[in-house]
């Protein structure tokens, strides 16, 4: 009887769920234990996990995933406006719409591979972004962004005679989704998304995707039609992006076009690479690290830096404050860019490869003579 999950997979999944669910506790000492940031951790974790299914497993570098993220947000907000303020229909609606959108775009983009694929996705994403800002204003509300208002129709809510007083906010079966409730709502989706990604990576379908990544031509010569597999991966990762976008709309019911811009697509690429492309946990960790440091570094200012360096003589401290202030606050993107370049140059496998190298080092020094740790990831 084939086992449902291997012991290692089960351990990984259980460990991951535990880490995620306990986040409010263990992140509190790091100054990140508040729901707003934790929700973003979850949301961008989902985004990165989904992106990794396409980039990490299948080897297609998309520079347009933010389009699906944005479409998910818009779909969710429209569901809040037209149907009901309940989050579940919004999520379903968003995933379906972004999946369809991904199906169309993926069908066209996957006719090419390599750099042409990247540029095609980029072109489609920029088209969506430009259209969202200009002609599609009736749907997207242009620069203002799509918002909930009191006189939205909300057909289903009206049918059950639910009225609202004050600012309408999304809920779950009447339960408010603010604060930690919102976090656990997002966390359950991240765990679910992680589980699905894990199952995909271990399945025959996942093997097929990995084979496409390592040598697509050989796959075709052995008689496989690789297109449907790659398209499925594209649609699945588009749906993840849509789900993440919808969750962002649930926690903050406002959808703007700027989250579709190509720099937003670049951000998820950064997350995936930084964490470790092709690994399951890596992209999530990358997303967390980027969001964490975005939050911490961009909040720093000269006064805090001056206090930090105050143990040094005055002249040295002043210089250091000047220098470091360029890397924090508004300049934190500089730190991100530098970190990214360094990772791509020296550590192409991202943080996960770093962890693996350090672990291998310890193992070797711990028991000399034992054979070196087997590589879990085939060298690309």
């Amino acid at each position: 009887m084939p086992k449902f999950m291997s012991r290692n997979d089960l351990l990984l999944f259980a460990g991951f769920s535990l880490v995620v669910l306990a986040m409010p506790i263990w992140l509190a000492p790091f100054g990140a234990g508040y729901p707003d940031l934790l929700q973003r951790f979850m949301i961008f974790g989902i985004f990165a996990v989904g992106f990794n299914i396409l980039f990490g497993l299948t080897g297609y570098l998309s520079f347009g995933h933010a389009a699906f993220f944005g479409v998910g947000s818009y779909a969710a907000v429209w569901s809040f406006k037209l149907l009901t303020l309940d989050a579940i229909p919004a999520m379903i609606f968003a995933v379906v719409i972004s999946g369809l959108f991904a199906l169309v775009i993926g069908f066209l983009c996957l006719r090419r591979s390599g750099i042409y694929f990247s540029i095609l996705t980029l072109a489609f994403a920029q088209m969506s972004y430009n259209l969202a800002y200009s002609v599609l204003t009736p749907i997207t509300n242009g620069e203002t962004g799509l918002q909930l208002t009191l006189n939205d129709p909300r057909v289903l809510d009206a049918a059950v005679g639910q009225g609202f007083v004050g600012q309408p906010v999304p809920n779950l079966l009447g339960q408010q989704l603010s604060g930690y409730a919102g976090f656990y709502f997002c966390a359950s989706f991240l765990i679910l998304g992680f589980f699905i990604a894990q199952r995909i990576a271990g399945s025959p379908f996942g093997m097929m995707l990995k084979a496409i990544k390592s040598n697509q031509t050989r796959m075709q010569f052995t008689g496989f039609n690789t297109r449907p597999y790659a398209l499925s991966a594209f649609v699945i990762s588009g749906m993840y992006a849509g789900l993440a976008g919808a969750l962002l709309a649930v926690t903050d019911p406002l959808a703007g076009a700027e989250r579709m811009q190509w720099t937003a697509s670049g951000e998820v690429v950064l997350m995936t690479i930084l964490g470790g492309v092709g690994t399951l946990v890596g992209p999530v960790i990358g997303a967390w690290i980027i969001k964490y440091f975005e939050n911490i570094l961009s909040a720093l200012n000269d006064n805090i830096l001056a206090r930090f360096w105050s143990f040094l003589p005055e002249g040295v401290a002043d210089v250091l404050v000047k220098v470091t202030s360029k890397f924090v606050g508004d300049g934190w993107h500089l730190t991100l860019g530098l970190a990214f370049v360094i990772v791509v140059i020296f550590l192409p496998g991202g943080i996960m490869e770093g962890v693996r190298r350090v672990a291998a080092l310890f193992r070797r020094s711990g028991s000399s003579g034992a054979k070196t740790a087997p590589q879990t990831q085939p060298a690309e």
Binding site: M127, D330, V344
Partner: protein, 343 residues
């Protein structure tokens, strides 16, 4: 009607010239080194900020506060004296007036050094890696460049005035024997177009008529054989990268009066110029130039009201739409060689 179309055609020329110059550099880099350089837009931006820096130095002034006199709003009068004018008199004033074109003299060596340092320092190590990794590292470099510029010059666009003699518009319609004042065109845009034509012609002449250029072309066709002939092709390719950086930088300098540069100028142009490159055909220099002008003109004709009335929003997406269609039906682009990057 003809006048309107002709005017839009002219309007497309200067934007097309900028696209063509950036795409030319991108293609040079791709054709010689085989590297997909996402940092090329950043080089364009660096060039633009060379012009900003030159102007900053030229317009440095001494400020002396005269407590005796008061300015109209009551504060002590500040007397500003531009240093360059104080030192050189009228010649200094001319220098300040022509700061943008003059910046090119300084931009060329700077961009050459930047380009060669970039190639030797980082990009050299990525020849053997996949295109995806090349994209990633140059994308990272572009972010770094843009953030450095942002932290030095601030986030706001910095307008650069064009020389006073070149302001205003030329009446091209009257020049061509049509009715006066129908087709007028800003002189600086004409200057930009002529400048682009000269640079493009210079690059082509350099490749076509010099021994150096001949070797480079041979290397683009078959790098290994040229290497076996005992020619240090790597060094020449490095210089070509420097040259591409210079072209991008000069394009940026001359574009500053048309569009005040800010730190994300490079990213804005990068996406478009990549689209231009794939439309023209990866690795094809004439393709890059032709596609640059073609897309510039298409973009400006799509913004005509008559066109927008039929296809709303077409002006926003026309370039991407063309790129998508080209990539799907003719992946090697308009001028691409058969078999080069066709997958």
């Amino acid at each position: 009607m003809f006048e309107v179309i002709f005017l839009q055609f002219l309007n497309g020329l200067d934007k097309g010239a900028a696209y063509a110059l950036i795409a030319l550099g991108l293609t040079l880099v791709f054709g010689t080194l085989g590297v997909v350089n996402f940092a090329h837009g950043a080089l364009f931006m660096l060039g633009a900020f060379c012009a900003v820096t030159v102007r900053m130095f030229l317009t440095m002034e001494t400020v002396t506060v005269d407590p005796e006199k008061l300015s109209p709003w009551g504060s002590p009068l500040e007397i500003r004296e531009p240093l360059v004018q104080a030192w050189f008199g009228d010649f200094g004033a001319v220098l300040v007036n022509y700061s943008v074109p003059l910046s090119i003299i300084i931009t060329i060596p700077i961009m050459l050094v930047v380009g060669i340092a970039l190639e030797r320092g980082i990009i050299k190590h990525f020849y053997k890696r996949s295109h995806a990794e090349q994209i990633l590292v140059t994308f990272g470099l572009a972010i770094v460049a843009q953030e450095v510029i942002k932290s030095v010059y601030g986030p706001n666009p910095i307008p650069q005035p064009m020389p006073t003699d070149l302001r205003g518009a030329a009446d091209i319609g009257a020049f061509l024997g049509m009715q006066a004042n129908i087709i007028t065109y800003p002189i600086w845009r004409l200057v930009y177009f002529v400048f682009a034509a000269v640079v493009i012609g210079g690059v082509f002449a350099f490749l076509q008529f010099t021994t150096f250029g001949m070797v480079v072309r041979a290397g683009m066709a078959d790098r290994e054989t040229v290497g076996l002939l005992g020619i240090n092709i790597d060094r020449r390719f490095t210089i070509m990268f420097g040259l591409a950086a210079v072209v991008a930088g000069m394009a940026g300098v001359m574009y500053t009066p048309l569009l005040p540069p800010n730190y994300h100028l490079g990213m804005d142009f990068l996406v478009l110029s990549f689209v231009v490159v794939v439309v023209g055909g990866m690795g094809s220099l004439p393709g890059a130039v032709a596609a640059g002008f073609l897309l510039g003109i298409l973009q400006s004709s799509a913004s005509m009201n008559q066109v927008k009335a039929v296809f709303p929003g077409i002006d926003q997406i026309i370039i991407y739409l063309v790129a998508v269609i080209i990539l799907l039906v003719r992946p090697r682009g308009l001028f691409g060689r058969r078999g080069v990057m066709e997958a």
